[in-house]
Every structure is written in C-alpha cells, then in structure tokens.
C-alpha cells in the first residue's frame, strides 16, 4: 500500500465506518441512560429544579471549594489545560473547520494556526502530566483501571499525530495525515464504549444533581 492509498482509505471507508459506529453507539448509550427514568420528587419544593439544573451545568466548570482545589490542583489545572486545548484544537483549526463545513454545511472563524499549535503543545504536556500522576500518585494508582489508560491513549494519539503532521516530523506527510485520521477513527470507535462518554453525559449528570439540589434550595 502506498502512502496515498493509505490516506485515501483512512479518509474514506475507515473514517466513515468509525463515524457510523460513533453516532450509533452514542445514541444507544444515551437511550440506555434516559430509558431508566427517575421517580418524581413528592417533597415540598423550596426552589426550582430547572434553574438548579441549569446553574449546576455552568457552576461545575469552576471548583466549588478552594480547599479541595488546593488538594487536587495538579489534576484540576492539567485537566483544564488539556480539555480547553482539545476543544479549541478540534473546533477551531482551519482544516478541521473545513471538514465540519463539509459535514454540517456551515462554518465559523478559525483561530490562527500558531495559537492552535501552542495549545497542542500545552495539551500534550498536560496529558503526559496526567498520565504520570495516574502512574505514580498513590490515590490515582489505586483508582485507575485499564479503561482509563485506553481512554488516555486514544485521545493522545490524534493530538500527537496531528502535531506531527503539521510539523512534518519523522515521516512523509501523507503517512502522517493518514495516521492522524486513522487515530481519530480509533478514538471515535472506542468513544461510545468507554468513559470517553463523559464528554456528553456530564451534562446529564450535572443536570440531575443540580435539579435535585435546586428543589431542596441547595445552591451549587
């Protein structure tokens, strides 16, 4: 297989199948959760569950408590750098926007490539820090499972191969871009079957906890 053939395959059937698995898997997982339902709260309400739910979706972006923040500062800061970085890299890199335009029919302004490049370096470093913590911190070592490392690997690979493609490192460009797209395909296929699902379910989780707290008049 030549590099051109590999690239064609990756950006053709491979990513299409992956996208299909991703979309279907995502749907199944969300239906699985929502189908379980929950019982109505019959206690006299002190506040609005709706407002509480919405508020918590936003408020949990910020640490609730200084003391806990201090105790887990590395996780929080590295976690933020990597998540925010990933968000901008995925949605604001020029070629990515071109892809989204192809998929959804409209586009939005991109961030300049040097900024994305910088965010990628930060995200890669933050991810390595998080991995290192998982492997060394007694608490995280105890909690971590194989799935945590799978999720880490399939998220790290697209970032790394994307960075290498942009800088033409080690391999010819076609190979690098092919690997980048293949790594995204892997990410998409693994996504619905692992805790990568939190990308979507954290909205639900925050909604539930926030609406329960809101009805009790607990501010979160």
């Amino acid at each position: 297989m030549t590099s051109a053939e590999f690239l064609m395959f990756a950006r053709g059937p491979m990513i299409q199948v992956a996208g299909f698995v991703f979309a279907l898997g995502l749907l199944v997982r969300l239906v699985e959760i929502l189908m379980l339902g929950r019982s109505e709260n019959l206690a006299e309400k002190r506040g609005s569950g709706f407002q509480g739910g919405l508020r918590t979706i936003i408020s949990r972006f910020f640490p609730a408590d200084q003391n806990t923040f201090k105790r887990s500062a590395v996780t929080v800061v590295a976690g933020y750098v990597f998540h925010v970085g990933l968000f901008f890299i995925i949605f604001f890199l020029t070629p990515h926007i071109a892809l989204f335009k192809h998929l959804v029919g409209f586009s939005w302004p991109a961030l300049s490539t040097p900024i994305i490049d910088f965010l990628t370096v930060l995200a890669l470093i933050a991810m390595v820090v998080l991995l290192w913590r998982r492997l060394t911190h007694p608490l995280l070592k105890f909690l971590s499972t194989g799935e945590d490392f799978i999720a880490w690997t399939v998220t790290f690979l697209p970032l790394l191969t994307g960075y290498m493609s942009y800088h033409h490192l080690l391999l010819p460009y076609n190979w690098l871009l092919g690997f980048h797209i293949a790594s995204v395909a892997l990410f998409l296929v693994v996504f619905p079957f692992t805790k990568l699902m939190h990308t979507f379910t954290f909205f639900l989780a925050r909604w539930y906890i926030g609406s329960m707290a809101g009805e009790k008049g607990v501010r979160q």
Binding site: D65, K195, A205, Y208, G210
Partner: protein, 427 residues
C-alpha cells in the same frame, strides 16, 4: 432484614438504578477529586475511602446489566459477578467510612451525586445481610420500641415533668390542631433534655400552639441510615399518621441533620404521596419566628463563638443562613470556621456511623479534621444544631483534652429570651 441473601441484595440494588445513577457512572473518569473532599480519606490517607470506590459493586452491576457492552461482556463471561465476599468487604467502606455528608457530591467536576448513590448502595448491602450489627440493633429498636436508642415514651414524660418543674411550662402531649408538632431525637431526650425546655420556653413566648405526639416523637430514621426502605417507610408513616391524627400544620424536625433529610426530603417519597402539612427544621422555625418579630432576645454571649454546620442542613437541606441570622441576635464575638457553610467538614459521626460501634476508631480519626478547623479558631464555645454532631464533638474534644463546651443553638436562643411579664398572661 430477615432472610438476607446475595440475591435479595442484588435485586434491591437493581431497583435503585435509575437514570441519574447511570449518568453518574457513565461520567466518572476516576479523577480522584471526590477523595480529597472526603474526611475519611483525608484523615486516614487510605484510598479505599475514595467516595466513588465505595460504590464499585453497584457500578459493576450497572455496567453488566444496564449497558449493551456490559451485557455482551457478561454473556461472553468476561465480567466478574458480584459475590457475597465482595459485599462483605465493602460493608466497612459503605457504613463505617461514609457519613452521607455530601461533600464529595459538591466537588465532583462532572457533577456526580455520589451521596445519592451511596444511600442507594446501602439498600443492596442491607438486603444482602451486609450491614453492621450496631445499625441493625438501632433499626430493630426503632421498629419495636419507637426509638433507635430504646427510649420509651415514659422516659420522655419523665423529662416533661422536669421541664415543668424547671420552667413551669406544661409539655402539651397529643394536642389536636396545634401549629407545631415537635419531634425529638432520642439523643436529645437522653443527653440534652435542655432542648425540650428551650422549645417550650420559645414557643410559649412566641404564643404558638404546639404538641408532642406520644405515638410518634422520634425524628430519626434508622431505616434510611441502614438502607431499608420498607423500614424507613414504616417509621415515616408513624410520624405522618400522628400528624394527620392531631391535624397539625407543621412538623418540626429537631436539632438533628439526618432526621431532617429523612422526614423533609425522603419522607413524602417513601410513603408515595405529598404531605398535607409542612416540615421544618427547628432552626428554620426559629428564623421564621425571628422574621415575624416573635422571637425576642436580650443580652449577648460574652464567649467567642463559632458554628458547626451539620452536613444535612447545609449540603442536603439548603439551611445555611438561618442559624447565622439567629446567632447574630445573641452573639458579639463570632468567628466562622474555615470551609464554613456549604462546604463545612462533617463531624464524622452522621449517617449511622455513630450507631455502629465497629466504626469507633475510624470515627475518632475522622474527627481530626474538625479538630484542625477548631485549632485555627481558638473559640470558647461551639454552637451547633444537631445532637449527633454535638455528641461527636463533645467526645472528640474530650479525647483531645480540649475544653470547649458545645451548645445547641435552640438552647442558646432560649437562654436569651426576654422574660415575659406575668401581667401579660401566658398562652
């Protein structure tokens, strides 16, 4: 709790799994932040006390039976079924190492209500026969005798006599149509009878009618602590029946945090219908009286005071400002402790921990968190609004030879009541 088996336990757990639980388990990324908020982890340094880890058997059940991938893995024999041994091992984590205080739920970045799930997890533990002896005893006494500590109505009547002698006020038992039906915790009847006297004096001054039911005076709910909804429902039903029989407007939950959660928030859901009366914590009632101008106090405490927030009031009940409004009326030298209010550290004894003798060592270790908060303050007196917190604080302070008295807020307010002039007449 008869015929507890693994199968019953797993069935009980299945009944507990709902959409929020599934969303929570789906969202956990094992970041470990919940551990940093849990005093059983921070004080012991042992990662087994990580809040989300305490739910591991329930998480596996969810994964194996409520997710497509989990079901496939189970069919292929790739997943580990829950065993009796495992639940036995988890018993210590679920009961001794958790006071259901709710701090973990406040800090989880994805928004998992871990406390909500732990309450559910206990249903499976109890049904499978993996609940601590101490709590089983308390629950049995609550069902048979009406009190987890075995306090009978005669003991309460004896206390009422003392109140009559001390204050001249009659405790109105079984009075129909009263504004308030006052509930008590056994701990108050036995250890802090001052509470009953304080209520009598405050409500007398406010001119409110009130009553204590001889059929249902116990506020705490051992069924919730141990995680047996049938028993929890039975205990709530007794209170509801008494309140309906006496046609009272409001039930007053005593200075106890978990009792408030039990009757105020879980109560209607346990019996499956909304209450026809209101439920308020005594601190809420006092603050309402204050707002109506019916709570008249004089004089200020000279001591340097602080307030220990009971976990169920602030994090699971939304009662944060009321005690502070009340303390302002009677204090001049008040300091908040670090992390006060919604994030205040738990005393370490709630959620059934204090009824479980096996947990004594861990419970006194957990108190070290409160000790370090107090060490920074140098106060003369600690005020709180939960008899269970109070006894834990007193024991912990005693153990560390710290001579700081602990006072109930209601009692402190009663000590400052403006003495009524005889000519005005009583109610």
């Amino acid at each position: 709790m008869t015929h507890a088996t693994l199968e019953r336990g797993i069935n009980a757990l299945r009944e507990q799994i709902d959409a929020p639980v599934a969303a929570f388990f789906n969202s956990c990324v094992n970041c470990g932040i919940c551990a940093e908020a849990c005093l059983f982890y921070t004080e012991s340094g042992n990662p087994v006390y990580t809040p989300i880890h305490k739910l591991e058997p329930m998480r596996r059940l969810w994964e194996q039976e409520y997710t497509l991938v989990g079901r496939i893995r189970k069919m292929l024999g790739l997943s580990k079924a829950i065993t009796d041994e495992e639940l036995r091992e988890w018993e210590e984590l679920v009961y001794d190492g958790c006071s259901l205080c709710g701090r973990c739920s406040m800090v989880c970045p994805v928004g998992n209500d871990i406390t909500y799930m732990l309450r559910k997890m206990r249903e499976g533990m109890a049904a499978s026969g993996n609940a601590p002896e101490g709590l089983i005893g308390a629950t049995t006494r609550a069902v048979k005798l009406g009190s987890p500590m075995g306090v009978k109505v005669v003991a309460l009547q004896a206390q009422a006599k003392h109140v009559k002698n001390d204050t001249g006020l009659e405790i109105p038992f079984d009075k129909e149509g009263a504004d308030y039906m006052v509930l008590l915790s056994s701990m108050e009847i036995i250890n802090y009878p001052e509470y009953l006297a304080a209520i009598a004096r405050i409500l007398d001054q406010a001119g409110k009618s009130w009553t204590v039911s001889t059929e249902a005076f116990e506020a705490t709910n051992a069924g919730i602590q141990i995680g047996v909804s049938d028993i929890a429902r039975e205990l709530v039903s007794r209170v509801v029946a008494a309140a309906e029989k006496l046609k009272v407007k409001t039930i007053v939950s005593p200075e106890c945090g978990h009792a408030y959660t039990a009757i105020r928030w879980e109560g209607p859901n346990l019996i499956g219908r909304p209450f026809a009366f209101k439920v308020r914590h005594i601190v809420e009632v006092l603050d309402e009286l204050r707002k109506e101008g019916l709570l008249k106090t004089e004089g200020l405490e000279e001591d340097h005071l602080t307030f220990h927030d009971p976990c169920q009031l602030v994090r699971r009940g939304g009662v944060v400002d009321q005690p502070r409004n009340l303390l302002k009326m009677v204090s001049q030298n008040f300091s908040e402790m670090e992390d006060c209010g919604q994030m205040n550290w738990c005393c370490g004894a709630g959620g059934g921990v204090s009824a479980n003798e096996r947990a004594d060592e861990l419970r006194s270790k957990a108190f070290l968190r409160k000790k370090s908060q107090l060490d920074k303050l140098n106060v003369d007196t600690i005020v709180t609004a939960c008899a269970n917190c109070r006894i834990q604080l007193e024991e912990g302070l005693e153990e560390h030879e710290m001579e700081i008295p602990v006072v109930g807020l209601t009692e402190m307010i009663a000590d400052h009541l403006v003495v009524k002039e005889q000519s005005e007449g009583g109610t």
